[in-house]
Amino acid sequence: MNAALLAFDVVLLAGLLGVAWRCLASTDLFRAVVLFITFGLLLAIAWVRLEAPDIALAEAAIGAGITGALLLVTLERLKHIMNPHRGDAGPSPPPDPVASDTGNADAEARDARDPGAGNVALSCAPTPARGRWSAVAVSGGLALLLMATLATQDHGPGLQPAVAAHMDVSGVDHGITAVLLNFRAWDTLLELAMVLLAGLGAWSLGRHDALPARPAPGPVLPGAVRLLLPVAIVTGVYLLWAGSHAPGGAFQAGAVLGAAGILMSLARPHSLPDPDPRLLRIGVTAGALLFLALGLWGLFAGPALLTWPRNLAYPLILIIETGATLSIALTLVALFVGGRSPREDA
């Protein structure tokens, strides 16, 4: 039986390495991004194979989904920056039945003439042959060294027994959530800070441009969005709640809700009002602030920071996870939108 599994592993790893190699070696950025998203999905399968469903969920939602969306929108922005005023007038495309008088109508008409030109931003020079072999030697050598070192390691169980021993006290009965939100809560808190910091950094660079994603003409997308949004929100909440006893949790739920937000901002970009900057800032910081505030209770009363009293552990963890989910979803949408809202600088 494990011969079949071994074969599956070898094929999967070969596939992963192949996709990664093709992705990094391609000269067309769009192809590289698509390959990268495929790589993310294959990776999710690998995590399932390694009996880590939570991580597979996160990888699919965040690694492939959110990162893929960010990459695609960045490519669109680069294309928009590289050649904003393109080409000559030509036959205009069939009238767009639903097109509202968006500012982009003329831009859309313009770039319809030479479809290929738009992609000049999306290609990049192939790698110069000069330093090729030295780079291959360095990375190959590093790979072999790593493998040799890993081969010498024996197969201990790691901290699994320690976690199992304290599961009864952790307030949840799913290992990973217990580690994330109780045993190593400090890592998770700093991780929320990291997400927040990425948002602040993106905001500090400048104001966000008019969303490049032009609403596709026709009723199909708005209709699909109307259908998918509620389902996404319900799924997100379900994931959040299920995290305490089954694979799921704040980050996966946050990613799903973030994806819903991105979908909403893509489908109807212009009718979406910029949120009040003060509320947005507080919303983005709420998750981590709540987490720290509850942690302070442990500092003053209990033995150390971030200690949950035994009987209150589950409700506390649930509150923290909700806050974290909202903040992560908000931050991911903000990162997708790009810079800070013009209202902030008023």
Binding site: P115, G116, A216, V220, L228
Partner: protein, 98 residues
């Protein structure tokens, strides 16, 4: 025992449709036909796989979740296909420069 046999048969049938879809993707000349191959074959394939997994499910909740997955993939597939088709129709073939 019957359930395992049923699952194996249905999943294999599903795989056949997936293979057909992939073959279509590789062989068909232009965007629109490839879209057909992908959305039609894969969705059907997925339906059969979901059916195949149902006997393995341990409770009505799991079955409903499987059906929900299938419905979502259908909706997403249809929307995506429409979007790609419309963009190609308005902006011409996304030529490949190798």
């Amino acid at each position: 025992m019957i359930a395992d046999l049923l699952t194996a048969v249905l999943v294999l049938a599903g795989l056949v449709f997936f293979a057909a879809g992939t073959l279509g993707l590789l062989r068909f000349p232009d965007v629109y036909t490839r879209l057909h191959a992908l959305t039609k074959a894969d969705n059907l394939g997925l339906g059969l796989v979901v059916l195949g997994l149902m006997p393995q499910a341990d409770g009505p909740a799991m079955i409903l979740k499987l059906v929900l997955i299938w419905v979502l993939v259908l909706a997403a597939g249809a929307t995506a296909a429409h979007m790609v088709a419309q963009r190609t129709w308005t902006h011409g073939e996304f030529e490949r420069r190798e």
